[in-house]
């Protein structure tokens, strides 16, 4: 999935202000051809504003937006080769399914016969054959969503924008739809840009994710890179769960923290400056006895157990009163829990288990 020349979409130092509120702050970002891109972040981080600027419903206060190298800042939304799937679907209540899906084609000079043909093909693609004559208020949530998708895709846009499309669906339907979206994107080869606050969703569907915080980009990377190599404590904490140990490097690979001396595989960190070691819960081993041969080991008391079905995430209080999170797969048959609150346990991890963060 390498870059084929220019990026498809480029945000160039884009800012957006509403009165005194800065929603997007001097943000630069590239979106590549054929990729499934996610804008992820907490509420108010500006991801939806960024999407709406790409769609043309908001104009940037500063900066440029380029589509295939062309500055589309001044182009009104009805002329942009970009289509959006709205969060509340925004299906026209006074038109039936066929007319909703074919609406975009009626704005172009396409014959009625061709519109009918393409509408049928699109309905088949989203698995809604035969639903053409139905009225919008007769559809279920999942069906409405597929009509909204069909309506946006039928114009073969260069980019499809999805504004929190799965928020209203229940968990099972959401999982199914996520895979359907990925299938669709792969089959069509169109770039999809999805806005979501659900990090699990972003990790599942996206090729690359842009994590945003208060109008700025925190990190842009693949899901794996984001999870395994976050670039800051904020990102490490936002994605998944993490334990953060604060300390300093006294020598290459030697991290002095509040709980003692820790061996770290990364020998490139600067010495003497404050740094943090980020450890993901599944990389830490939990045992009742002190491990014989482990690079790093520390004892603690179980503060809280969190049973999640396939695994348990325990919070363990260490000697310096800090907490570490450990994930333990529930491999024992019949889910017998052998760790309880108050138990004294040993946590251990290899030298290459953590990531060194300097911010």
């Amino acid at each position: 999935m390498g870059e084929m020349g220019e990026p498809l979409v480029r945000f160039d130092a884009v800012s957006k202000r509403f009165g005194t509120l800065t929603a997007v702050d001097c943000l630069s970002l590239d979106i590549r051809r054929g990729e499934f891109f996610a804008l992820l972040g907490p509420s108010g981080c500006g991801k939806t504003t960024l999407l709406r600027m790409l769609a043309g419903f908001e104009a940037p206060s500063e900066g440029r937006i380029l589509l295939d190298g062309e500055d589309i800042g001044a182009m009104p939304p009805h002329r942009r080769p970009v289509n959006m799937m709205f969060q509340n679907y925004a299906l026209f209540p006074h038109l039936n399914v066929e007319k909703n899906v074919g609406f975009g084609l009626r704005q172009e000079k396409v014959t009625r016969a061709e519109i009918a043909e393409r509408v049928d093909a699109m309905l088949a693609l989203v698995r809604l054959q035969g639903y053409g004559r139905r009225r919008v208020d007769q559809l279920s949530g999942g069906q409405k969503q597929r009509v909204a998708l069909a309506r946006a895709l039928i114009k073969q846009p260069r980019v499809l924008l999805l504004d929190e499309p799965l928020a209203a669906l229940d968990k099972k339907l959401r999982a199914e739809t996520q895979f359907e979206l990925m299938e669709l994107q792969r089959r069509l080869g169109t770039s999809f840009v999805i806005v979501t606050h659900d990090q699990e969703e972003a990790m599942i569907v996206a090729d690359r994710i842009a994590v945003m915080d208060r109008g700025r980009l925190a990190q842009v990377a693949t899901p794996e890179e984001l999870y395994e190599r976050p670039n800051s404590r904020w990102v490490a904490d936002f994605i998944g769960e993490v334990s953060l140990l604060e300390g300093r490097f006294s020598a290459p690979g030697v991290f002095q923290s509040m709980i003692g001396r820790i061996e770290v595989a990364d020998k490139t960190a600067a010495l003497g400056e404050t740094a943090w070691l980020a450890l993901r819960p599944e990389k830490i081993r939990l045992g009742m006895d002190r491990p014989a041969a482990a690079a790093n080991a520390v004892a603690g008391t179980v503060f809280e157990t969190g049973y999640r079905g396939d695994r348990s995430v325990h919070k363990v209080r260490l000697a310096d009163r800090s907490l570490m999170k450990v994930a333990v797969p529930n491999t024992a048959a019949r889910g017998e829990r052998n760790v309880a609150t108050g138990d004294v346990v040993w946590l251990s991890w290899p030298a290459d288990a953590g990531v060194v963060l300097t911010q």
Binding site: F18, L21, A23, T48, T49, F57, E58, A59, P76
Partner: protein
């Protein structure tokens, strides 16, 4: 989530604004300016019955000539003759009292509708509004039917032996009040209903939970929260009633002289346009504060002003 307001290009929106704007300027604002100007004119036996008439073709001298002939005679008359002052005061008195009556009668009706079963409410509201769709004039006339000397009210009262001889109901202040309350009731009930309907029933449950009796809960929770509706209803009745003409004319007597009738008489009977205009200007000045207050209320209701 934030949204920018304009959805169309500047050219289109200018046209949308311009058409109604021009109409209102021409047929609403300009006429008022003319009323103002004529209130400063002299009465003459001519067509039109006032002087000076602005002749723009006469250029600058025409303008000076125009200004020279302006006079405050009409206003002097207004101030000197006791009749006008009494008319204004009578109008304010009638408007105030009838608005109070409308509130006293309309509030229970609106409240009653809100407490009816949900499914019944639209029907009830429609029933309250339906008389409004039949003619205003007809409804006033209907009361003439009932209140006249050999009308229904006297007939019923005599049959019930509550009175011995037919009483005079028509051409009295009482008849005017009945007519006003009857005609303006929808204007009071509808804003009240609109506000009361949106009241969260959980608030009353919370009040009960915290120890309020039904009556206390009404005065301390429901009524204060319904005040915007009360204000809208009061203004929507008080302001037009002050200038009412038809009802006092048909149902009132010679003692009920409201300012609307005075204006009408000056204009149609006395053909004194300047004085009629002066009356209108003074009435407008009197009502300016309530009108502005109402506009403010309207804007707040649709969310323009916080």
């Amino acid at each position: 989530m934030k949204r920018s307001a304009p959805l169309r290009r500047p050219g289109d929106s200018r046209l949308v604004v311009l058409i109604p704007y021009l109409w209102l300027l021409a047929l609403f604002l300009v006429p008022f300016v003319i009323v103002l100007k004529i209130s400063f004119s002299q009465t003459v036996m001519a067509l039109p019955p006032y002087r000076p008439v602005l002749d723009l073709a006469a250029g600058w001298t025409g303008l000076k000539d125009f200004a020279a002939h302006l006079t405050t005679d009409a206003y002097a008359l207004l101030g000197s003759d006791d009749l006008y002052l009494r008319s204004y005061l009578k109008s304010l008195e009638v408007a105030g009292l009838s608005t109070a009556l409308l509130l006293a009668i309309g509030y229970p009706i609106a409240y009653g509708i809100v407490r009816s079963p949900r499914a019944l409410q639209p029907l009830l509201v429609m029933l309250v509004v339906l008389p409004f769709w039949t003619s205003f004039l007809i409804r006033v006339y209907a009361w003439m039917n009932i209140l006249q000397r050999d009308g229904l009210l006297n007939d019923v009262l005599m049959r019930l032996q509550l009175i011995d001889a037919p009483r005079v109901w028509l051409s009295t202040d009482t008849a005017v009040y009945i007519g006003l309350v009857y005609s303006y009731l929808p204007f009071m009930v509808l804003p009240l209903y609109a506000v009361l309907e949106k009241l969260d029933p959980a608030l009353l449950e919370a009040a009960a939970d915290l120890g309020c009796t039904r009556l206390r809960a009404f005065w301390r929770v429901t009524f204060p929260l319904s005040l915007p509706g009360v204000a809208a209803g009061v203004l929507l009745c008080f302001i037009p009633i002050t200038g009412e003409f038809v009802i006092p004319d048909l149902l009132g007597g010679s003692r009920t002289l409201m300012i609307g009738q005075t204006l009408w008489t000056e204009f149609f009977s006395n053909r004194d346009w300047p004085v009629a205009s002066a009356i209108a200007v003074a009435l407008l000045a009197l009502l300016l504060v309530p009108i502005l207050f109402y506009e403010r209320l309207q804007k707040r209701a649709i969310g323009e002003t916080p």
